[in-house]
Symmetry: C2
Subunit: 393 residues, 2 copies
């Protein structure tokens, strides 16, 4: 038996382990200092009452023979798929029956979707980037090219027709940079993909943070996207489902080539290697899309959005360049005084007791940048900003 | 972009669709006849009270900031891994810290585990068999060999040293045949795998139906298994979790070759392409392993086991050869009067209004056999058996 040797080529990521290690050392040496963590990408507010109510009701369903649910549809219950379809309708996107697949999260599907593509495809990934786009492809032995995101292009790389890519990753609003494409910019990517016969894997996990109407919340707002794109979304950030696990993937019927159809391939993959999302969780997820549920989650989103603004306003006052903050829970700032990512990490930890994430951990182009997140408490966010002001003004 | 052409080689399974189609046609033509379905592989009893209680408590945890859970450990919470470890201890199997991975079901892990193995491994699968072992490997482009299960070997194929297999699937008690290996027989497979440097993927999803002590409930009861086996198990059948989704996979630390370690590779795979099982579901799963929970689920298991016995006793009286029935929820019978699987399907449907699953749908060696399951209600099982008696005596 032979193991998959490609695993040897996956870079070990010590980013968050190294962050935790440095913080632990500092706290041990300075037990009296209160450290504030704004490095975290996880939500902190509890599930909203409508979701809790739906989860309890679903648990009760599982207790009685008449309402008990065994194996469900691989692609999710229609009560949830219909709710998601309505959510898209309100964004101006019409999805067809069978194009929505309920999943246990965008991360799983972003990795698993690669099963339907040949090994010999060239992958194009922005740099800096959420590491799993690269890792999942390296594990499969695919060649990965990078599209440079930088201050020059506002951390929004645009298509380069001299590059022949087959599988293109786009995350907008982006993790870690917070930068988000306009619909006009995305149209350029859709045109590129259609002209190259490429597929765009569009990670929309942070779409709920968009307030600016010129920015795209779904790639299917763009004409031509249905012949070249798959969209991944998640309830993790919109509704605090990071520990409840539910997402969805849109695979258009129109996405096909040489007699092979992506939607059919994905259904075959899922029915062979997946058995659906827990009924209880799907009921909770459907409540997110109810009128009352949507109202309640908007309160939570507003809380996080205001946190992001508070951080952004601080950087504005200090004259530090950044992306994100608006339309994103992430604020991606240029380390002041020419510091490297890790230099600034230590500087901020030692002098303001604030923890963020060094941009260098997200790719070559992340060096010299730093990520702060809006997922902390209001109190901690305000306190952190005060300390940063004091330190850097 | 190129799709994965291996998907073209995956046989379309029309088995359950064809079953549903023939039943629908019959019912339409005979609206007055009550059709009893014993073809189903899904549980019908609701979750037990201890599990329901734990699920409700976990939902409440998600409603408060202090007890809310975001991202959990990729390999599952320790409260559940410890409970599983204790369950194994009671079977006489000592597992080390870090060898248990909580999953959303055995099916997902049985498919996903293939990520850690090279494409160029030869796969050995029993015939007849649960179709996903074959399909997942065909999708990845691997060569699949079959080990013939038949009446001659009691549907329990033994190792053939003239065959060089790299990845060996064993499902015991087996789906669909219900046949289960003794520990002595499994020792032969473990010795074969160790001598060939092969890995056994051991599907233990039906271990909870074993009452005979000479039969293996875990491959890790066998000396030498930790250097050659991965075990997959599920709460679907033991606790009715088919719609609640929880299972676990045991990857021993000792399973390694050429400096690559299966446990580390699987953790890397899961942390890159999976984000854990819902906290709520893990709390429900832990309740299964509590003293009271275990007592309650044994009642449900006894109910299904008695159903299986009722079917087996009927076949005994009729003198029809079968495997399973004891130590398994499945009864795998030889179609009487030399009928083919589908002939017997129609014969039973038309003359006794009982639905089972044609064995031919599980592989070449399934032709001439038929599967009945114990997951129906007692009333339906007894009525079905009465009709079969009347028809075949």
């Amino acid at each position: 038996m032979k193991y998959n040797l490609n695993f040897n080529d996956v870079a070990e990521s010590y980013l968050f382990a190294e962050v935790a290690d440095r913080v632990a050392k500092y706290s041990k040496a300075n037990p009296d200092k209160k450290v504030i963590k704004l490095g975290i990408g996880d939500v902190t507010l509890p599930l909203v009452p409508e979701v809790i109510k739906a989860l309890h009701a679903a648990v009760d369903d599982m207790a009685e023979k008449e309402t008990f649910k065994g194996y469900g549809p691989y692609e999710g219950y229609s009560f949830l798929r219909d709710a998601i379809s309505d959510y898209y309708k309100k964004m101006g996107v019409a999805l067809e029956e069978g194009e929505i697949f309920v999943s246990d999260g965008a991360k799983s599907d972003l990795g698993n979707i690669l099963d339907i593509f040949d090994k010999d495809n060239v992958v194009l990934v922005p740099d800096p980037v959420y590491p799993v786009y690269v890792d999942t492809n390296v594990m499969a032995g695919r060649k990965v090219l990078f599209a440079d995101a930088s201050e020059q292009n506002g951390f929004l790389p645009m298509p380069d027709y001299s590059v022949d890519a087959d599988i293109i990753y786009i995350c907008s609003p982006n993790n870690p940079t917070g930068a988000a494409y306009t619909e006009a910019q995305l149209k350029e990517w859709v045109d590129y993909a259609n002209s190259k016969n490429a597929v765009i894997l569009y990670d929309a996990a942070y779409e709920c943070f968009i307030t600016d109407n010129s920015l795209a919340r779904s790639i299917f707002r763009i004409e031509g996207a249905k012949t070249c794109a798959i969209e991944f979304c998640s309830l993790s950030k919109i509704a605090g489902f990071t520990g409840t696990r539910c997402g969805y993937t849109i695979v258009p019927h129109a996405l096909e080539k040489d007699g092979m159809n992506a939607n059919k391939l994905w259904l075959r993959r899922q029915s062979t290697k997946f058995n659906g999302v827990p009924y209880i969780v799907q009921r909770g997820a459907a409540a997110v899309f109810s009128e009352e549920g949507m109202k309640q989650i908007q309160n939570n989103l507003s809380y996080y959005k205001r946190n992001a603004q508070i951080i952004a306003e601080c950087l504005d006052e200090l004259g530090i360049p950044y992306t994100g903050g608006n339309n994103s829970p992430y604020v991606w700032l240029k380390c002041p005084r020419g510091m490297s990512s890790w230099e600034f990490f230590d500087y901020l930890l030692f002098n303001a007791q604030v923890v963020g994430t060094p941009g260098a951990g997200f790719g070559r182009n992340g060096e010299g940048y730093f990520r702060l997140t809006a997922f902390g408490s209001r109190e901690n966010t305000e306190e952190a900003v005060k300390r940063i002001q004091l330190l850097l003004k």
